[in-house]
């Protein structure tokens, strides 16, 4: 039986190899007209350049912040929806999914209207007298975090929900009966049991946030450069494939490292 279950991987793996892994690896290490040596040389230069280092740090930092915010907001939504018996739960779930359908370019306009100096938030703050002049929100890290949160929060909700929906509510009850209030029940029973789902959700969000281009560019502006905007510049403006590959390699390693660490941590947490 063991041999046979392993066979289930084969069709998917074959497609993955042919339609993704082999072409991508070839492209990453040896883009058109460029040798792997040049890619690595460029990679070396990037990793030692303070300007590029700052971009890596910013990308990692914003990626992590967005992930934390998305899980921090999305998991409670998923939890409440998965435990609710209300008819509204279905509607709310659908509402959490709609935003995914809006093209990111269009969404950005919404943020312009909310965050721009003439927009809703600065004007509201002015009206309330909380600030003297409209604060600069657009083209700041905050704008990127908000924009990326909007894009990836639905993903966090949906991915967490699918795990939470499978956690037996009877165990919540058992914990409550043993004196755990809702909060502690949540942390000691619900969270660990849905942990693998949360790790998946976090990985999806982090990978998405690190590789997203449009939102960080349009909301973060030219000053908040991230790896993805750099990659875009290299591949679409300067057509500098060595730099593009080097940037893509850094992004790939970053996401792999973070997702690997998080699932390791989760596994450690589950077995301790």
């Amino acid at each position: 039986m063991r041999g046979r279950t392993a066979l289930l991987v084969l069709p998917g793996l074959a497609i993955l190899l042919v339609a993704f892994l082999i072409p991508s690896i070839a492209m990453l290490f040896s883009p058109p007209g460029i040798s792997p040596g040049e890619v690595f040389a460029r990679l070396g230069r990037m990793l030692t350049d303070p300007y590029d280092q700052a971009i890596v740090v910013r990308t990692l930092g914003l990626g992590l912040i967005v992930t934390v915010v998305c899980i921090g907001l999305g998991y409670p939504i998923a939890y409440l929806l998965s435990r609710s018996t209300s008819r509204w739960a279905g509607v709310l779930l659908a509402l959490a999914i709609f935003p995914l359908l809006l093209s990111s370019v269009v969404r950005t306009f919404g943020w312009l209207v909310v965050l721009g100096s003439q927009g809703a938030i600065p004007q509201l703050l002015l009206t309330l007298g909380l600030v003297d002049s409209a604060p600069q929100l657009l083209y700041t890290p905050l704008a990127i975090v908000l924009g990326l949160t909007q894009i990836f929060l639905p993903l966090a909700v949906v991915a967490s929900y699918s795990a939470l929906a499978q956690v037996d509510a009877g165990l919540d009850e058992a914990a409550r009966g043993l004196g755990a209030n809702r909060t502690r029940t949540f942390w000691s029973v619900v969270v660990p049991l849905s942990g693998p789902g949360v790790v998946v959700a976090a990985t999806l969000v982090f990978a998405g946030a690190v590789t997203a281009y449009t939102t960080p560019y349009l909301l973060g502006g030219s000053r908040q450069r991230m790896l993805s905007t750099q990659l875009y510049t290299y591949s679409s403006t300067t057509i500098d494939w060595a730099a593009a590959s080097a940037t893509a390699l850094i992004m790939t390693v970053l996401v792999f490292a973070v997702s690997g660490l998080s699932s390791l941590a989760a596994r450690r947490g589950a077995t301790s």
Partner: protein, 336 residues
């Protein structure tokens, strides 16, 4: 008498089905109360309302004299063994048992000691590091028991806590529950389907049927005097006879005697009915004999006699026998 808990006119309606129907129930303090009744009669539902998992559709529940109908479970200080155990699959046996203590912020050292104590009590100290998935059914059930006991609650709710244990272990566990109860003076509500268990352990028995309470009292009061046919049947009164006045009376199989001639054994006050043996079932120390007979009203009845194997006459199906029905053990029944 103080009450550990009290149901006042409590009902639980699921959709259009009434699982618990307007019950008033007092759980005496410091006593062990058993809840008995057929499968689906509302025992678990009642416990779940008492524990706070299910809000009553109607009525109120007070705990220790305070209306607690809306109190969340974690503030009721109850221990509960769920019929389905509900062990935490991601925690070791020890962590399961220690969970309630942790919630009560018992210091780690104390906690470890009490966990070990509770696990020793159920004979599972050697499995404290295992995950519940790896335990046998009975072992899981005992972990659930240890988990509920470890917190030393004011009120312990046990939903068939011993159903998957063998007789010896059951007897041992019953004794432990009784001992803990005596030592700590807590109140216990025990759901069981085992009459012996109920009779042996209860201070108070509550019999339920279709969501309603049929009878409540000490075993000594209830057992010899079932209030109605349902209770009688449930307690193992197998024989129902209509007396000369048309009222129904009942008698336990153990109280019937059989003889091949009418005279022996010495006739007591009561009826002696002729009959034909239908079935003889060997059960170790005793023998169950089913006899087709007719009661004093002339109606055909099937009677079941439970005889000690060594003193039973040698009977085979088809044999004619006399059934002796001692008047002292005949119990008159109210209509259902």
């Amino acid at each position: 008498m103080t009450h550990a808990a009290r149901f006042h006119g409590v009902s639980q309606v699921f959709g259009d089905f009434t699982a618990v129907d307007n019950i008033d129930l007092d759980i005496p303090d410091g006593k062990l109360t058993t809840l008995l009744g057929p499968s689906g009669c509302g025992k678990t539902t009642s416990l779940r309302m008492l524990a706070g998992y299910l809000a009553p559709t109607r009525g109120t529940i007070s705990i220790a004299g305070v209306d607690s109908t809306r109190t969340p479970p974690e503030r009721r200080n109850l221990g509960m063994v769920f019929q389905s155990y509900a062990l935490f699959p991601h925690m070791s046996v020890a962590d399961n048992v220690g969970f309630g203590l942790k919630m009560r912020r018992v210091p780690a050292a104390d906690r470890a000691r009490r966990v070990t104590e509770s696990l020793e009590l159920v004979g599972l100290a050697h499995l404290s590091a295992s995950k519940p998935k790896k335990l046998s059914g009975g072992q899981q059930q005992r972990v659930a028991l240890a988990r509920a006991i470890a917190i030393r609650p004011k009120l312990l709710l046990l939903d068939e806590p011993l159903s998957n244990l063998d007789a010896r272990l059951r007897i041992q566990m019953r004794a432990e529950i009784r001992r803990i109860q005596a030592e700590t003076g807590l109140a216990v509500v025990l759901v069981t389907h085992d009459q012996d268990e109920a009779l042996e352990m209860s201070d108070e028995m509550v019999l339920m049927k279709d969501g309603r309470i049929q009878q409540q009292g000490t075993p000594q009061a209830v057992f010899p005097a079932p209030a109605n046919r349902f209770v009688a049947e449930f307690l193992g009164y197998e024989n129902f006879l209509t007396d000369a006045g048309g009222a129904t009376t009942t008698i336990r199989p153990e109280h019937l005697a059989l003889s091949v001639s009418e005279r022996t054994p010495a006739a007591e006050t009561g009826a002696v009915l002729p009959g034909v043996v239908l079935d003889v079932a060997y059960r170790g120390v005793d023998v169950l004999v089913t006899v087709a007979s007719a009661d004093v009203s002339g109606a055909r009845v099937e009677l079941l006699a439970d005889l000690r194997a060594e003193s039973a006459p040698d009977l085979t199906p088809g044999a004619d026998v006399w059934v002796h029905v001692p008047a002292t053990h005949l119990v008159p029944l109210a209509a259902d």
